[in-house]
Symmetry: D2
Subunit: 342 residues, 4 copies
């Protein structure tokens, strides 16, 4: 019973169908008919002009978007627990040619204008310290928290005031959108986001993420950089097919709602163990090593997690439980039950 991540789940049948429907040969790379539909599909989704490119991974999506905003000698501000800082094997250093990640604080891995200002205001102008060029936030965050539209807008306003680009890592964008229930433009383009990594792989896709630019001039350089990074697949139509199928009929939201609901069911069984409010599809719980062993002995598979500085005193251990679009209801129920009797 796998609760270690949503990133290895099965591919949704409608994604499979779309890929197979794309099987006839078409022009190579992104010259095919499906790739050509991406801009319009995202423009419809967000109600604003978008340029969208497919890539295979969230790491590539994040780093290509950021490379369009940050020169090699510049920096970007992100949360100290951001995926780009902690879990991408130094990819930002590679794609951004050594640009620097400037780390900010904030509960629940959420940035705030205050936390950002603390970082930004401490930087001396001039050439001796790396100057910021962008901000990157994660929606939902690495702690499973969701920015409200007003929270994004406050950061967007700060970014604009300081002349900084704003990127959103949306590896679990769908889960955030499902939680918020509002139009996705409200916490992206209308809130000042310039580029979005729109995740599909964790939400029932196979191998496609979209980089969506609300500031279309950024996309041009990314086309070159995608090729240069070996990310321009010759049979790109299979990636475009995945993304289009995800958008069509709001499959992205349907899948995310299912995962979120499963997470809520588990969360409800956790009581005081919850280390973070559960807003998306990740449940962070206080679990001692012994308790973890009990669960694992029952067949539950999950990651243990570092105990963060702001965890309640006496927390002996932590674990992350992640649900997917297709987490089997009986397994979710079993996990909830197991947690409730620990």
């Amino acid at each position: 019973m796998k609760f270690f991540s949503d990133n290895a789940a099965s591919v949704h049948p409608r994604i499979w169908q779309a890929m197979q429907a794309a099987d006839a040969a078409d022009a190579a790379y992104d010259g095919d008919a499906l790739s050509a539909k991406l801009d319009a599909a995202f423009s419809d989704l967000f109600g604003a002009p978008c340029t969208a490119l497919w890539v295979a991974t969230g790491t590539a999506a994040n780093c290509l978007a950021l490379a369009a905003m940050v020169p090699p000698h510049g920096g970007l501000v992100c949360h100290k627990e951001a995926h780009i800082e902690m879990d991408e094997g130094g990819a930002p250093g590679f794609f951004l040619h050594g640009a620097k990640l400037l780390l900010a604080e904030g509960t629940g891995a959420k940035l705030t204008p205050e936390g950002l200002r603390a970082v930004l205001d401490a930087i001396r102008p001039g050439v001796h310290q790396v100057q910021p060029h962008a901000i990157s936030i994660t929606q939902a965050t690495e702690c499973g928290r969701v920015y409200a539209p007003a929270e994004v807008a406050a950061i967007g306003a700060l970014a604009k005031a300081r002349g900084l680009g704003l990127h959103m890592d949306g590896a679990r964008f769908a889960n955030a959108a499902a939680h918020l229930g509002c139009h996705p433009a409200e916490f992206t383009v209308r809130a000042g986001v310039d580029a979005l990594s729109f995740g599909c792989v964790k939400n029932g896709g196979m191998s496609a993420e979209a980089v969506v630019f609300f500031a279309p001039d950024l996309a041009d350089v990314v086309r070159f950089r995608r090729k240069r990074a070996g990310h321009l697949q010759s049979k790109g139509r299979y990636l475009a097919a995945q993304i289009l199928a995800m958008i069509e009929g709001d499959l992205w939201l349907e899948n995310a709602r299912a995962a979120n609901a499963a997470a809520q069911e588990i969360a409800a069984a956790c009581g005081g163990r919850l280390l973070q409010p559960v807003e998306a599809n990740e449940v962070f719980v206080s679990l001692s090593p012994a308790e973890q062993a009990v669960l694992r002995a029952q067949g539950f598979d999950f990651y243990d997690w570092p105990v963060s500085d702001d965890a309640p005193a006496g927390t002996l251990g932590a674990a992350r439980l992640v649900t997917a679009w297709n987490s089997p209801p009986q397994e979710v129920a079993a996990l909830a039950r197991a947690l409730s009797v620990l």
Copy 2:
């Protein structure tokens, strides 16, 4: 009727089946059971210990392999028409952090010890000129030519004598192997090749190539670099599945033989128009712009091609005709007929 490239052809049914058979969730990234089988599968195929990693594109495969051999301040020798030099959007400059491609001559885009020595011997030792660290050859070449085992071995011996690594870009490795008919070890590991980009996408795959290391110590650093380049997909099992299916039952050879046979059928109709001997699945022909227009008007889709320096005097234009594993026999026959009556 598409003869512009093999790189956009449909995916072979057995590849589809293998991918679907991999649909159940397994460990993420390359921790799954299928990825774990790659080393053994290639070791069996080559009869020698191999380490193999999947990536999504040939560009990534080539550049990751080379990055393991060439430091940022170094260089590598390749043919002046090599794909890494001409058609990868500067990817080697990115992955190798500015290392230099040193360009050698040779007919049919084939390198020779003589051509290599001409480049190598002209480099002054010391820090003022970039020093070579590796050689990269393409099998089959960008002109559709195939290195015989002894030709690779001669280059391998030179590489060893000079302390250089040897990489083989095998985007069309299967087509070369099908042409040669010998054991694939004969023109790789036994001929001094250290790393091979084993192509699948052009041969009926969807989105997986393998980087195969015969010098296993090279693989370790590539694991880090693959992640860092955003090429470590979380559902890597779908890539491993493609590669394993390609090897199983020699599907790779079966597909390549079909493509090669189609190319031979076209070549036989070309007579004196042939600009290169046809050894793999590419046919380079002398075609004036007017003749190209005639063919296109009949529904044939292909790339025009630069007239190379060594083309016969008076050549008014050139075209590249590429066959795929599934080029429809009636379309191949139609193209042959059309060419024969031009």
Copy 3:
């Protein structure tokens, strides 16, 4: 009266003489007779085989040394206030091709085995997090503190145990050596240091620092990287001359002792204002903005400094006062007097 830094002081007369004595044309780059003497001069100084290269700046020295130890996909651990992290404009990101600085804590900008282990042990093995390849310490530190030989040796032992290189940023190495009074090998080569940036510019030089390798195999790659970074000056003899003159007759220690003594004189006047023990030639004092204004009105030029987290509660401001090899005694006395009556 300049106490803002030692990095803009006049050049010592013996350095001038040595440069002028080098004026006759000799072989270019580092092929001249003076550059050829560097290895022996440092081998004598440290009583161990050394390879030494000149460069123009401490930033180049640090980054070239580190680039020999840390691959682009790797990381190095340094103090969060280290010069390479705070004040080199992102140069490590450039020279190390995006390798990552992993930041450790420690009072007085000094690293300790405990602080290092806290960083190292938190890194998950594998490709998702950047793995450490080296440690860099600063002697004397950015807070003017000096590592005792045993403190360096403890870090050296940790580095060795973990397979990490050890680099020492010695922009103020002479001041540390003058403070310690022991043989310089005791806190370098015998303590496990692999490469040292031996500073001259802050100590009466003009434009030359030495990168000294106790692990000589590291030097070879740095020769290439120095050229590649545009740091191989064609009239390198003028740089070699500076360094040799600095070593000859222990000018480096003589100059540092003068600067340290001036710092002690100032420190003695500071009483409870001292924020750090004064061990080298930097004095960090608690000074409110109003007090800073008073001093500046009297003609004293210095940097205000961020109030660090571990400063006494109620500290309203801080300043850094730096002495040089030639700080005029009457100016030093005047500053001491002015501080004592604030």
Copy 4:
């Protein structure tokens, strides 16, 4: 008797004087009074608004200027014998993060609009081939040839028409200016040059070159990149002093005229041996290995040189003879005599 290069000659007395006059401490880096004068000095010299930065080497000057024009995924066109291609140890690959040098042909290492168009027109638009962003020419060229103002202007017009930046490597700019005898603006700012590496080291300086921007917006990013490359020296006043002294009273022209005259004296003795017209301070002569040995036995020191493709048939060897601002008249005369009797 040294004729191997001008790059190791003695420093001119007026340069020494200027450096010593700068010895009093001033603000660090480029905050000093002398560095502040550079913009005005070059604006006066060129009769147009300039921004000028000092660096230590021509390699750094060239690469920093180009890095402001060419993004990492782009390319620049230069002559196949250009110093940046042949003799800078791959520095452009480092400073430009892997951008590509696109090599053009031309006699005397001079580019022409025709040679440039041959390269530019062969590049397919799109992401698969590296797109050009700049052109770099060398004045005087690596063959000692000088572009006339109209020749630069023709290239400048092409650059403008194609949206490309234009950089001039002026390591021997003074020698070219002395040869042309016209106002230096005529073959720079008025001819479409955007950035100039203004050489001093080969012309009697010690360790300072200027990067001069006629397009001032380019300079801002270079300030950051200079620091990041470890080229922002803290005692920058000594570099500014050299450059200002070189401009003052037209010392740069005086020195260059002396070197050029010496080269002419040697050239006049070479007769049919001359492989290039002598326009600056380099003399390329046909000399067989035996003849080279004769000259060396007489105490003449020089580089042998590759025999270029366009050398007269039967050329058995070549040598480069370089004069400096202070080549002793008796040595020049001796070399001329020796050549005339070979």
